[in-house]
């Protein structure tokens, strides 16, 4: 699965965001701080779902706040784990 598609579907499923709204996200769309549903607890479920859907493994030591700053950052992080 493409990282872009997986990240969008996980944002919809974990945060309960409207699918149309998430479909309109671009690389610069701000996430952490801009979306109240995205808190540190939601991040836990979000990371595990990304792992399951993309068949990747995420080392929590690699996870920092920057990853969740924008949609583009999150997709780039997921893509890097796929390589």
């Amino acid at each position: 699965m493409q990282a872009d598609i997986a990240v969008r579907s996980v944002l919809v499923d974990v945060l309960g965001l409207d699918a149309e709204r998430v479909a309109a996200f671009d690389a610069d769309t701000e996430l952490f701080g801009a979306i109240p549903e995205l808190d540190s607890m939601a991040v836990a479920g979000l990371l595990t779902e990304l792992e399951d859907r993309l068949d990747i493994e995420i080392d929590d030591d690699d996870v920092d706040a920057e990853i969740f700053e924008t949609f583009g950052n999150l997709v780039a992080f997921a893509e890097a784990k796929q390589d």
């Binding site: 309960g16 549903e37 540190s40 595990t48 779902e49 792992e51």
Partner: protein, 228 residues
Amino acid sequence: MPGALRHLSYTIDGLAEQLLVIGDGSPRVLFVPPLFDEMNRMRRTLVLAMHALAQRDIASALMDLPGCNESLAQLDTQSLTRWRDAVVAAAAVTEPDCLASLRGGCLIDDGADPAHRWRLSPAKGASLLKTLLRTRIAGEREDGRTVTAAQLIEQSRLAPIELAGNWLGPQMVAELHDALPAALPAREVKPGTGPSTITGSALWLRAEPGEDAAMAHAIVSDIAQLMA
């Protein structure tokens, strides 16, 4: 009146555990719930589905797992092995035509032998454990403390650890780490679009899942079709 609530019980380790029953007659569907927080998040939609089944004259039961919900048992002495025995005990009381397990419930549904087996989005034990660990780590970080998953796993070998509000004992943590849903013939669905899907969304992931009537009805249609 179809849809009336009543309670049955099954016994394990000398304690009576609750079976919530909705509908007239003996339950034909036994629901094995998701595990931990995911159970709480799915419960309202599950109960909606049970009411909708009752409207089709199919009574169903939702079991408490020992240590969860109304159970008087301690959670920190439970294990997947014991919960598998609990499902067998609950199935012996209800004698269901269909065992319907959700998420982590699919890790413990393989002791019973119903005519029909239905599963919603089976979860790997390792994934459930990882989310629990991450939630604990995030909570610690907000309090200015640092703890790693490896440290928590190490602690869990000796004594129960608290993960996202659940006290899990050594055997539970070890079994979750390795558990996969047993490979059994089952009707397996997930929410979404495409083959083998039902209307709905992954409510068990949501902080504020509410209830999803459309999903409840989709669950019911799919189970009823399987049993027809």
